[in-house]
């Protein structure tokens, strides 16, 4: 517990990214070889606005299998990752000054994307079952939002998964108020054994829902490859954008390699490998926290990347962060995830970036800082 005064090797629980050892370099090389061996020059050409059809077919099969529901190729448009998709949704479905609803708390960089588009953000509180429908109904009395942004499964930062009942209520509200629901479902497939309710993508044909998916969390972030799932008329608004049309769709080359990764069965293997590792890392982190940080409260996650932990009463996470940093450990303080300055006692701890000994050492440092 006698940590040195200065750590050059800070353990940063703020890093919402996999450790380098988890990145599937060998599998990706195999897929690139497979893809380029065909010598298909269309990989390097402008493509159709929806993105490469062959890739979208393979993606539809992958999602049908992993979501355990039918996903059609025509429901999918290729994106350069979920945040690029979210940016595009803002460009095509909003104007500066528009109101949008977010969960409170929500993903902090999504808040920055909304800021870039000049949007007014209204936070809707969540509880252990996800977004609070009573609060949503109240907000809908006062506002007419351009859309609601939600992270239904293994939410960033709270780790919360919206219950099946809440999902039904949210979709009912979407229908009643003609509310566009933008579901960030990048953690949907990252469960640790307990499968979450079906993704909101299930509802794209029966409500105004766009589901954003990505290979960043289930394969590798550096690919910058994702998808938007929606009904054809909503997707049309996306594909008719100048940036998509000028680019000739998004990421044809990377799409081609990913198609090979899926078709060779490697995408499933990579995803299942990540699920195993993250389940172990989450368990290690939570066990260490229970042992070494008994005054810090949290709900153990059942999937995703994050533990959302609350400091004892009257402790500020921002102030604690300064002390923690001096002790060689860091995290993202809760206020960063709030549209209204809330969650001052919360910390978001990611378990994706470190192996078990580092996670335990990080918790030791937190405990030392908290006791100091």
């Amino acid at each position: 517990m006698d940590a040195p005064a200065c750590h050059t090797d800070i353990i940063d629980f703020g890093k919402g990214q996999p450790s380098l050892s988890l990145l599937p370099v060998a599998a990706w090389r195999t897929a690139a070889d497979h893809c380029l061996a065909h010598g298909d020059a269309r990989l390097l050409q402008y493509g159709v606005d929806e993105g490469d059809e062959g890739f979208r077919e393979s993606l539809a099969q992958f999602l049908s299998r992993r979501y355990a529901m039918p996903v059609a190729t025509t429901e999918l448009v290729v994106s350069a990752g979920a945040s690029q998709a979210l940016d595009l949704v803002c460009t095509r479905f909003t104007r500066a000054g528009d109101i949008i609803f977010v969960e409170e708390p929500t993903y902090f960089l999504a808040l920055d994307i909304f800021r870039d588009h000049g949007l007014q953000v209204v936070g809707i509180p969540i509880d252990e079952e996800g977004i609070r429908i009573d609060a949503l109904q109240d907000a809908l009395v006062h506002h007419r939002p351009a859309f609601l942004y939600t992270i239904p499964s293994f939410q960033n930062p709270s780790g919360t998964t919206m219950s099946a009942a809440r999902r039904e209520q949210l979709i009912a509200a979407s229908r009643m108020h003609d509310l566009l629901v933008v579901a960030d479902e990048v953690y949907q497939l990252l469960d640790f054994g307990t499968v979450p309710p079906a993704p909101l993508a299930t509802h794209v044909h029966t409500a105004r829902v766009l589901s954003l998916g990505s290979f960043s969390k289930i394969c590798a972030p550096g690919l910058r490859l994702g998808w938007i799932q929606g009904a054809p008329d909503v997707l049309h608004t996306i594909t008719q954008s100048g940036v998509v049309q000028s680019g000739g769709g998004l990421s044809p080359f990377v799409s081609g390699v990913m198609r090979s990764l899926i078709d060779l069965g490697l995408a499933d293997a990579v995803l299942d490998g990540l699920r195993r590792v993250y389940a172990e890392r989450s368990a290690v982190l939570c066990r260490a926290m229970r042992e070494l940080l008994p005054a810090v409260t949290f709900v153990e996650p059942t999937g995703g990347y994050f533990v959302w932990a609350q400091l004892p009463a009257e402790r500020s996470a921002s102030q604690f962060l300064s002390v923690a940093r001096a002790g060689g450990v860091a995290f993202h303080p809760g206020t960063r995830f709030s549209s209204g300055g809330g969650f001052a006692r919360h910390m978001r701890l990611s378990f994706a970036h470190y192996d078990a000994p580092e996670l335990v050492e990080g918790v030791r440092r937190l405990a030392h800082a908290l006791a100091g």
Copy 2:
């Protein structure tokens, strides 16, 4: 000249893309092998906001050599192509309702990007030396634009290259009026032997200039990889965007392969090969037009992708397009490139997509349609 009534194999001079045969599949495979053989997992990881530093170093060397001027790594931010960069510039430097200036005519899909951002477009006429500074000065009396969008070399659609004198005058106007100049320089390196004046990128440290570059025209469109060159303070506004920060920079994996392509000397070889082919294709198209379409006027381009041709008096390009289509040939009519419904007699013909016999056959069909 007896073309059949119905052509299933329409020759579409509207296609602003290379033919598949020109895409460097073998070179790209070599580069991918080289890059992935190193087994560097950082290729698949989130990166820094500016984009991969190793790639930016190689890019800086490539540009220093090809632009024949010093380009520093710190002046470069990675983009997912010039249109993605332009979209990002709109998001970060404008708000819906803002005025921007464009050249008249200009790239039609840039107009769509500006529409998506709710911008009001004011066209500044060009002549054979590029943008007319007198018209720009007049417009600056009445408007305070968020930026001016220009394509200085081998302009899309006109093929015009801004003279050195005009560039100096434009930069002087930029300084005097604190006008942000967004230069789309994607054709800068695609000369047919006569090097255009230095890119506007030369002025990034002495005026408010952002230069957008891309590998789409000089290597392959399907990579969706480009760059933004600018002064650090202007680039900071770009890299502080939510979408760039959330993505961990743009395109780490493709950047890594492109770094190998550059370092292996293959990017230079690909570019020089394309310049040779496009020079030949341009010459073939122009020769055929002079012979078979003597009533159509145009200036033979010295680089780029396009011939901007004017129909005889009182012919509408849009009406002619219907006739031409029935005769198995198409093009983009001039009005598509106008912010104010101008250029009704103009056609943009791209010579990038077809080989010599197809180009000649296309012109034959145009001549047949024009005579019909």
